[in-house]
């Protein structure tokens, strides 16, 4: 009851001079507005980033080949292919925190269909597990290729929507043949659209095929020519070679069938460019990385203290980097907003001091009719808080309006942040308390006799 009356009194005092009250609160309005707009835009962009990362495939772990080193000289990352498809199989099989793993073999080549051609951004040889890891399971059309296609190195492929648009112009590509480096591929499916990733790269400009096909038919590295000391194989003895016709010219004289039969080709590891694995959940990513590291150490015979011949990256690192960047920017802007809030608070204090001086007689009168110093203190404190709160409310509206405008005009992602609103209200009240206290205290210390006589 008492507080209600004080509140009404404060409101009446403020509405006596509405323009002044408005100008006084301008600092607070702008400060709170800036905080709200900043928080909403910041929250929106960090959600957008999280979404982008999720669209790249949740919980993805990327295993890259490491560096080659000879006699203490490192040749840099990617200078040696150390990952094999068997590593991939082992990771999928032996690491409990890994849901699935897929090898990736990269190629870059022109696609030709009829009179049209296109060079896709990504041309990945992989396994069907890739679709699962990258969240591409629900094909728009057709069926994914199978393990059998991989074993046989079948010339089948899945196309991203961008390629379909460029090559087929609205036609259904299913069952059509496209040529890649003079190798004909049958299109078996169309991948779902994923749009651009956070780096702006079109994720739909992609061709997926069995990794064996890309590796041996497109990039043309065969088991034999990937190791130049090995002779090129005979087609009659080693039936495998039929599957993988080499395209490079022979450096060494061809071996006869007899020679080949006498020197059977040693079983060699093929290499892959990357291995993509997915953890069973976001929380398990770190465990998965530990398990993969241990497994690869064992498989690659890397002893304690030796440098790894592979690198493991996970998207949480990227997520963290990006969110920490936006958080940093947000905090920076928040600092600016805080400064404007403090400036606004000083404005409030200034006007409250003027108001106390102006109303000295009123204060004297109130004291004479029985107001205690604490009543006067409370009255002016409530007035300052009401001033700040209404400024804060106006600022919330302004900030929210501003961020909505940004969302409409600039199409920035924006998210209403209840925490920001609560914080803004709390900050306004705190400002009112902090900057209203001195004037209120000054008012409460007035001597009623002096104050009544004040002109």
């Amino acid at each position: 009851m008492r507080l209600y009356r004080t509140l009404r009194l404060a409101l009446r005092a403020l509405t006596r001079n509405p323009l002044r009250a408005l100008l006084t609160t301008l600092g607070i309005v702008i400060g709170v507005g800036a905080v709200i707009a900043m928080m909403e835009i910041g929250a929106g962009s960090s959600t957008a980033i999280k979404k982008t990362i999720a669209s790249m495939g949740a919980n993805v772990i990327l295993i890259l080949p490491g560096t080659a080193a000879s006699g203490g000289v490192s040749f840099g990352m990617g200078s040696v292919n150390t990952l094999s498809p068997d590593d991939c199989t082992a990771i999928a099989r032996e690491c409990p925190s890994v849901r699935s793993a897929a090898p990736i073999v990269r190629a870059r080549a022109q696609l030709v269909y009829g009179s049209r051609n296109w060079v896709p951004n990504l041309m990945d040889g992989t396994t069907p597990a890739f679709l699962n890891i990258r969240d591409l399971d629900n094909l728009t059309e057709g069926e994914p290729f199978t393990e059998r296609d991989i074993l046989n190195g079948n010339r089948v492929c899945l196309l991203g929507p961008t390629i379909v648009r460029e090559l087929f112009q609205g036609e259904s590509p299913i069952g059509k043949e496209i040529r890649v480096k003079n190798v004909s591929f049958r299109v078996v499916g169309v991948l779902p659209a994923k749009g651009a990733n956070m780096m702006g790269m079109d994720q739909d400009d992609i061709l997926l095929a069995p990794w064996t096909t890309i590796k041996y038919r497109v990039t043309g590295s065969t088991l034999s020519n990937s190791n130049q000391s090995a002779a090129s194989t005979s087609s009659t003895v080693n039936s495998l070679s039929n599957l993988y016709p080499g395209t490079s010219s022979d450096l060494y004289p061809a071996t006869s069938d007899v020679q080949a039969a006498d020197n059977p080709m040693p079983v060699r590891f093929a290499t892959v460019d990357q291995i993509l694995a997915s953890a069973i959940s976001t929380e398990e990513i770190q465990n998965a990385i530990r398990q993969i590291t241990a497994l690869l150490h064992e498989r690659h015979h890397i002893r304690e203290g030796e440098p790894d011949d592979f690198n493991i990256r996970d998207m949480t690192e990227m997520t963290k980097t990006l969110t920490s960047t936006t958080t940093l920017m947000g905090n920076l802007l928040l600092c600016v907003a805080m400064i404007s809030l403090v400036v606004g608070g000083v404005g409030i204090m200034n006007i409250m001091l003027v108001s106390v001086t102006e109303r000295t007689r009123e204060i004297g009168l109130r004291m004479a009719v029985g107001a205690r110093p604490s009543d006067i203190l409370r009255q002016f404190l409530v007035e300052a808080i009401v001033l700040c709160l209404s400024g804060g409310a106006l600022g919330i509206l302004l900030g929210h309006g501003g961020s909505t405008l940004v969302a409409i005009l600039l199409h920035w992602p924006v998210q209403t942040s209840p925490a920001a609103i609560v914080a803004a209200v709390a900050v306004s009240v705190t400002l009112g308390l902090a900057f209203g206290f001195y004037p209120a205290w000054k008012a409460s210390r007035l001597d009623p006799i002096e104050a009544l006589r004040y002109e």
């Binding site: 009851m1 009168l365 004291m367 004479a368 009719v369 029985g370 009543d375 009623p448 006799i449």
Partner: protein
């Protein structure tokens, strides 16, 4: 027992190294239901005495018994409560809150009252009080829309809203013309006679003091001779 009893009240102000004794051994009493005028020239100490009587200030030494309570050593808050409950003030310059309706002006002291009446009750009481001073028609008028006499009547209504025992009027007619002065003074007399409110009129004007039952003359911080004489010594009037 008288309502007000002062016993050897002294008030000394310190101005740097100087000591100015404004009140010297004031001993006086005012009975319940009296209408007393406090007269004196400016600088005689009558304002200081009124401040002490009105519990706005504390004496340097001496005893002040108000309504059977020794109040000269009360704290700031206790004095505020006392003023709210037992004392009403009417000032020369009315001291109404600007841009505030007469009703709200009158109801203002109620928000500091101990019994803390509800908003509605406060409005009812303020309205009654305004009707009593003859301003029932103008409860929503702001002070700037009222004449001087009406403003002073609003101030009187405000002073009476908490049903005080004593009403202090500090030069209540100082800013009024003679006709409205008479009206206001008649109102004081009526309040004194009909409601039994003890009234102390502070004035330098013998015409005003004439309305009182008795006059106390203050001269140089002391109560001058002829305390109970409404027709004050000519010499002192000349100074006023």
């Amino acid at each position: 027992m008288p309502l007000i009893e002062l016993n050897r009240i002294n008030k000394t102000y310190h101005l740097g190294d100087f000591e100015v004794q404004v009140l010297k051994d004031i001993t006086m009493s005012v009975g319940e239901g009296e209408l007393v005028a406090l007269m004196g020239a400016s600088g005689s100490g009558k304002s200081t005495l009124m401040n002490i009587l009105g519990c706005l200030d504390r004496p340097t030494s001496g005893e002040y018994w108000l309504d059977g309570e020794e109040v000269s050593r009360l704290s700031l808050d206790q004095r505020a409560l006392l003023r709210n409950g037992k004392i009403g003030f009417v000032f020369q310059n009315f001291n109404l809150l600007p841009r505030t309706s007469a009703l709200d002006n009158v109801a203002m002291p109620l928000s500091y009252a101990q019994d803390n009446p509800s908003e509605r009750e406060a409005r009812v009481r303020a309205k009654e009080m305004l009707e009593r001073v003859g301003l029932g028609e103008r409860i929503d008028h702001e002070p700037s829309k009222l004449s001087g006499g009406q403003q002073q009547r609003v101030a009187i209504a405000r002073a009476l809203i908490n049903r005080p025992r004593i009403l202090f009027a500090d030069e209540p007619t100082g800013n009024l013309d003679s006709r409205t002065s008479v009206e206001v003074l008649h109102m004081f007399q009526r309040l004194n006679q009909e409601d039994g409110v003890t009234i102390i009129l502070v004035t330098h004007d013998p015409n005003v003091a004439h309305y009182a039952q008795r006059v106390i003359h203050i001269h140089d911080g002391q109560i001058a001779a002829g305390i109970y004489d409404a027709q004050a010594p000519k010499g002192e009037e000349g100074q006023a």
